[in-house]
C-alpha cells in the first residue's frame, strides 16, 4: 500500500509509476524472448560443441559469442579458423554473412530516433535476428516509448545472457551432445515458424518466397553473399507486389 507523501501528491502520476512501468516492460520483453530461446539455445550448444571439437582455443571460440554475437557468422568463423583460412577471408566472410544486420539497423532505426546515444549503442550491440524480431513486434504495440524501449532491452539482454551460457555449456560438454537430435536444424525450423507468423499479407508472402528461392540459388555465390542478395530481392518483390495492388485498386 503506497503511503501518501507530499512528494507523491505533487508529482504527476507518470513520474511516480515510471520505475515499476519500466520494470514491467523489461520483464515483458524477457518473456517475449523465451519462445525464441527454445530455438536459439540449441544453436548456441552446437556452436560450443563445434568450438570444442576444433583447433580453435576454447576461450576464443566462446568469446565469439560476445564479440561477434551472431550465430551463423560465429560458426563460419570457427570453421574457417579451424581450416586455417587466410584471416582476411575469414573477416570478409563473417562480415558478408552479417550484412543483413544493416537491414535490421535500418528497420529498427525508425523506432530509436528519440533515444539517447547510450541506448542506441547498447541496443545496437544487442541487435540480432531474435532481438530484431521481438523488438519490431513490440514497437508495433501501443504504449509509451519508454516502455517499448524497455521491452526491447529486456528481450535483448535475456537473449544475450542465454547465448553466452549456451555456448559455454556446449564448449564444456563437448561432443557429449547427441547428434541424432540434429540440433543444427532447430534454428531453421524455428525460423520457418516465424516466417509463417510474420507473412501476414501478400507482399510479405512474396517477400518470403522470393527470399528463400534467391537464397537457395545464390548458395553458389562466393562468401555467403547470397543472403544479402536474397533479402534485397525479397524486399523488391514486396515493393512490386504492393505497387501492383495499388494500381489494381485505382483502376475503374
Amino acid at each position: 500500500m503506497a503511503t501518501i507523501t507530499p512528494a507523491s501528491i505533487v508529482a504527476s502520476p507518470s513520474e511516480t509509476t515510471r520505475g515499476p512501468e519500466t520494470a514491467r516492460s523489461l520483464l515483458s520483453g524477457a518473456r517475449a524472448m523465451l519462445p525464441w530461446l527454445v530455438g536459439v539455445v540449441p544453436f548456441g550448444l552446437v556452436i560450443g560443441v563445434t568450438v570444442s571439437e576444433s583447433h580453435v582455443p576454447a576461450a576464443a571460440g566462446w568469446a565469439t559469442g560476445a564479440i561477434i554475437y551472431a550465430g551463423s557468422a560465429q560458426l563460419a568463423t570457427v570453421d574457417l579458423l579451424d581450416h586455417g583460412a587466410a584471416p582476411i577471408m575469414i573477416i570478409i566472410t563473417a562480415l558478408v554473412i552479417n550484412a543483413r544486420l544493416i537491414a535490421y539497423s535500418g528497420s529498427i532505426a525508425l523506432h530509436w530516433r528519440d533515444t539517447s546515444y547510450g541506448f542506441r549503442a547498447v541496443a545496437s550491440y544487442l541487435l540480432v535476428d531474435p532481438s530484431f524480431a521481438v523488438g519490431m513486434e513490440g514497437y508495433r504495440d501501443t504504449g509509451s516509448r519508454r516502455t517499448r524501449h524497455a521491452h526491447y532491452l529486456g528481450a535483448a539482454i535475456t537473449l544475450w545472457i542465454a547465448w553466452q551460457l549456451a555456448i559455454l555449456v556446449g564448449v564444456t560438454v563437448g561432443s557429449g551432445l547427441p547428434t541424432w537430435m540434429h540440433l543444427e536444424h532447430v534454428v531453421p525450423l524455428f525460423l520457418v515458424a516465424q516466417v509463417v507468423h510474420s507473412a501476414n499479407n501478400r507482399p510479405a508472402c512474396y517477400a518470403a518466397a522470393v527470399g528463400a528461392l534467391v537464397a537457395l540459388v545464390g548458395q553458389s555465390l562466393p562468401m555467403h553473399s547470397g543472403i544479402i542478395v536474397a533479402i534485397a530481392a525479397g524486399l523488391v518483390a514486396a515493393a512490386l507486389t504492393e505497387r501492383a495492388a495499388t494500381s489494381e485498386r485505382s483502376r475503374p
Binding site: 554475437y69 542506441r120 516466417v195 543472403i227 536474397a230
Partner: protein, 105 residues
C-alpha cells in the same frame, strides 16, 4: 595472426553494421521506401536463412535432403494454427523420425 585478432576485427565490423543506419537516421527522417520495407525484412531474411540451412549440398541423396524439408513442411503447417514453440515441437519429431527412416544406418 591469432584467432583473437580475427574475431575482434570481425566483431568490430559487425557492430558497425548494427549501428550504421541507426546512426544515420538518428536526426533525420528515413526515406519512405525504408519505412515501407521495414515490415518485410523479417519474413524475407528469415526465409532466406531457413532455406539455406535446410538445404543440403548437391550430391547428398534423397535420404539426406528429405528429412529437413519434411520437418519444415510439418513446422510450417502447425505454425499456421499455433505458436512457434508448438510448431517446433511438431517439427522436431518429424525430423528425427524421417531421418531415422530415410538415412542408412
Amino acid at each position: 595472426m591469432t584467432p583473437w585478432i580475427v574475431i575482434i576485427i570481425a566483431g568490430t565490423g559487425t557492430f558497425l553494421f548494427r549501428i550504421s543506419l541507426v546512426a544515420v537516421f538518428s536526426g533525420r527522417d528515413a526515406p519512405p521506401w525504408l519505412e515501407r520495407s521495414a515490415g518485410y525484412v523479417v519474413p524475407t531474411a528469415f526465409a532466406a536463412l531457413a532455406a539455406i540451412s535446410l538445404s543440403v549440398p548437391a550430391g547428398g541423396g534423397l535420404g539426406e535432403a528429405a528429412p529437413p524439408l519434411i520437418a519444415a513442411a510439418v513446422t510450417a503447417t502447425v505454425a499456421l494454427r499455433s505458436t512457434a514453440p508448438t510448431a517446433l515441437a511438431a517439427g522436431l519429431p518429424a525430423l528425427w523420425i524421417s531421418s531415422a527412416l530415410l538415412t542408412s544406418m
